[in-house]
């Protein structure tokens, strides 16, 4: 029987957001005494505001141009960030450990060929046979390899090809829940001895109309400009999407020690649940998760919150945190700074928490209404309450 008692360390972080790339860059940017103004682009998918992809030189982590050409940006971003995480963990180009490394990716659907779609929709206005129009246009207008940039599991496929991570490869889907289940599964596998080292994370490209459309269908997008997660609530709330890549190298502590790797932090536990967003039921699920994570007696020193900004989910979470842990808790809703990266949301939160623990500090308030940071932080709760369903929590502690 599985022992479930192996300690799980975070030994590598890859992070890309509107602020740029690299774990340290994010600590230097976000971890100072005053939070930076978020970087927001109101033109790339006007009229929406997004936290855009920073300027990237893909060839740094994806050297072959042929590989770059086979991907769209969400895959490039994910593959790139996975490379950063491996490098950070000192495992990049370590053939043996990459070949035995497990891979769990949280992914959405791929990107569309906007030009082709737009052109077909334009022609459809004057067509009386739209079915025929599609049959006439798609076979000649779609790039054959575009399909490979659209399949959810091809981010993992590209990571295997570019970085030679081939122990096992699974792709989890389902919006924020994808990130939650990916990390939860990764932690369970290491804790139980089913895996010794594992690459887990996701990426999301917000700079595209086809990425925003599914959310606008449900009126989940924030229509204002630069307001933070808290401030937005007065205007009806909503998500401002953000381009983010977030990958972690998780490692069984003994495995890391043997190769001399230092931990950012340890990932003590993950809990998740699903149910109706009725206020009482949601609260009781969140309490149950906190209980499972042994937070009832010993609460966290601070919270890194993946709050999406969507009113129902956000108010349920903030009220729960207040009730469970009191008024004074320092909660940092990072969506204010880097936006909402859907599948990459939870991995990004775990990365930010681990960074703070490594640096013996915490983040300044990201907006008015967030409590000042406590003197010392050794235990952080990371939350991801999905914008329409699915909930996750993780406890990250000093290793």
């Amino acid at each position: 029987m599985a022992a479930n008692n192996h300690e799980v360390w975070i030994t590598g972080i890859g992070l890309v957001s509107c602020f740029g790339e690299g774990a340290e860059l994010h600590w230097n940017t976000l971890g100072g005494t005053k939070a930076p103004a978020p970087i927001i682009d109101t033109e790339v998918v006007a009229p929406y505001a997004v936290h855009p992809l920073p300027e990237m030189d893909w060839s740094v982590q994806i050297p072959r141009r042929g590989d770059q050409r086979q991907m769209e940006n969400w895959q490039r971003l994910g593959t790139y960030t996975a490379g950063l995480a491996l490098e950070d963990a000192g495992l990049k180009e370590n053939e043996e450990l990459c070949a035995s490394m497990d891979l769990v990716v949280a992914a959405g659907g791929g990107e569309r060929d906007i030009e082709t779609d737009n052109s077909i929709m334009q022609d459809a206005m004057s067509s009386n046979d739209r079915e025929k129009l599609i049959l006439d246009r798609l076979p000649s207008d779609l790039r054959p390899t575009l399909f490979l940039a659209q399949l959810s599991n091809l981010l993992a496929g590209n990571i295997s090809i570019v970085h030679k991570v081939t122990g096992s490869s699974r792709t989890y889907m389902g919006e924020e829940a994808a990130g939650v289940t990916a990390i939860e599964n990764a932690v369970s596998r290491i804790a139980s001895g089913q895996s010794t080292h594992l690459l887990v994370g996701g990426s999301y490209n917000a700079d595209r109309p086809d990425a925003l459309l599914p959310h606008e269908l449900g009126h989940f997008l924030y229509r204002g400009k630069g307001e933070g997660i808290h401030e937005r609530q007065a205007n009806g709330g909503g998500m401002r999407m953000g381009s983010v890549g977030a990958f972690l190298v998780l490692e069984e502590a003994e495995h890391a020690k043997k190769r001399g790797a230092k931990p950012y932090a340890k990932l003590s536990g993950v809990a998740s649940d699903l149910g109706s967003r009725d206020k009482d039921k949601s609260s009781s699920r969140l309490s149950g998760m906190a209980d499972k994570l042994d937070l009832t007696e010993n609460g966290p020193d601070a919270v890194v919150s993946g709050a999406t900004g969507v009113s129902d989910a956000t108010s349920i979470e903030f009220e729960f945190l207040k009730q469970q842990f009191g008024d004074g808790l320092a909660t940092r809703a990072y969506g204010t700074e880097i936006g909402q990266p859907l599948e990459a949301n939870f991995p990004a939160g775990v990365a930010l928490a681990a960074l703070a623990l490594k640096h013996d500090g915490f983040y300044p308030p990201f907006e008015d209404g967030e409590n000042p940071a406590p003197q010392s932080v050794s235990k952080i709760l990371v939350t991801a309450i999905g914008h329409f369903c699915g909930e996750g929590m993780a406890v990250i502690e000093k290793a």
């Binding site: 599991n153 993992a156 096992s168 699974r170 269908l217 449900g218 699903l274």
Partner: protein, 425 residues
């Protein structure tokens, strides 16, 4: 825990106590098995949409369900709902919920052309295209459409309806997804996270664009003239797979759990092996190393020698490359002994059910052992001399089968192999 409940590695023995299936051959285990053993093909000319001008006009669509909407998510959900219900009923789980998590191999879903045109028609704002789609969505909230195209929705809905525990996992490993769903269940039970797991896979994504995308990769057969003859795994004139739809559900639980609640055991899940391939997005390593590793790992995990395998349920897609690669890899693991083991491809009759394939074929594997009948590889009229396998050509065969290897391979370097047993070893 007593020995009779643990395997050769001291892990809980995992059994199957419930199964459900939908393919183009029919709804439910019984109809499928009857058609499968009589060598019937479910492949037909596509009626759901026009295929005029396309190079492939045939598919194994499932046209007899009554989905809320004819779309990939609509059809996928309807099939998954049916197979889950069938599996839970067989296993003796009622409506009081299921005592474990859901692992769901989810099809690729996204906004389809019908949705785009629908949105376009509701607004005059902005240029036709994404500008107008977004404007239309802003002007008129489309909650149903939103829910439909979220990748997690089907699993969330199944979890809530059937009362599985916790947050369900929606997963994709392309054409290996069905096997991966079962693998996730195995791993969770072995970790001791749960005594039972519900593993479901569903794919109803035969749309015009879906067909075109696979065509553009030259993956599909263009032998349209006699649709039921087009899928011909291991034949010399095979030229691609037939895109199909289907779903399967399996209830996995520990033998101890099943015994204690008096459930009937339908078969044993003995082992699983996986290895990712870094060679190419759609092609396997020429040396076969990842597939060979996955097969060997599955046998090792199951504690089974190559000699003990008495039937292989092949991935057998009917593409020139897959079938050759699968043979070469099997030969590398089994040696010449592979020529004496019956191996058949269910895809000759049901086509390639993509996301659902590994789970559908797992269900058929358990039926093969249970009934002592091996379904044939149909359309085997022109054997490929380079693949000298006993493919159980064209007619079913009575045989006592106690150990099965089932292969699944997918784009993106995904390789997952499962070993099933008739009885606990």
């Amino acid at each position: 825990m007593s020995d009779k409940y643990t395997d050769h590695k001291g892990r809980p023995i995992i059994v199957v106590t419930g199964m459900g299936a939908v393919t183009s051959l029919g709804q439910g285990i019984e109809d499928n098995w009857q058609a499968l053993t009589s060598g019937t093909s479910g492949i037909h000319k596509v009626k759901r949409f026009s295929t005029e001008g396309l190079s492939t006009h045939i598919a194994g669509t499932v046209d007899f369900m009554q989905p809320e909407e004819i779309s990939a998510p609509g059809i996928s959900y309807a099939m998954a709902d049916s197979t889950t219900e069938e599996a839970l009923t067989t296993a003796g789980y009622g409506r009081d919920g299921f005592p474990g998590p859901l692992y769901f191999a989810a099809p690729p879903v996204e906004l389809e052309w019908q949705h785009r045109f629908d949105l376009m028609a509701r607004s005059d704002t902005g240029e036709p295209g994404y500008e107008r789609l977004l404007a239309s969505a802003r002007e008129h909230k489309q909650e149903k459409m939103h829910d439909l195209i979220q990748l997690g929705t089907i699993a969330f809905q199944l979890a809530e309806k059937f009362g599985t525990k916790g947050l369900p996992i929606s997963l994709s490993t392309a054409c290996a997804s069905g096997a991966t769903a079962i693998q996730q269940g195995i791993e969770a039970i072995r970790r001791g996270d749960t005594d039972a797991a519900l593993c479901v896979a569903s794919d109803g994504s035969v749309t015009a664009e879906g067909l075109i995308r696979f065509s553009l990769l030259s993956a599909l057969t263009t032998q349209n003239d006699i649709p039921e003859k087009a899928s011909k795994p291991f034949s010399k004139d095979r030229d691609g797979f037939v895109m199909s739809e289907g779903s399967a559900a399996l209830v996995l639980e520990t033998l101890e759990h099943a015994t204690n609640r008096g459930a009937k055991v339908l078969g044993v899940v003995r082992g699983v092996g996986e290895k990712a391939d870094s060679f190419h997005r759609t092609r396997s390593s020429p040396d076969g190393f990842p597939v060979i590793t996955a097969i060997s790992a599955a046998l090792e995990d199951a504690g089974v020698t190559a000699e003990e395998v008495d039937y292989v349920n092949a991935h057998g897609t009917s593409t020139p490359e897959n079938d050759r690669m699968e043979y070469n890899s099997l030969h590398a693991v089994f040696g010449d002994h592979i020529h004496d083991i019956p191996i058949s491809s269910n895809k000759s009759m049901i086509g390639h059910t993509l996301t659902a394939g590994g789970a559908v074929e797992a269900v058929f594997s358990f039926l093969t052992m249970h009934n002592g009948v091996i379904p044939p590889t149909i359309n085997y009229d022109n054997p490929d001399p380079d693949i000298p396998l006993d493919v159980v050509p064209n007619k079913k065969r009575d045989a006592s089968v106690s150990t099965i290897l089932s292969n699944s391979f997918g784009f993106g370097g995904q390789n997952a192999c499962l070993v099933f047993g008739r009885e606990a070893a």
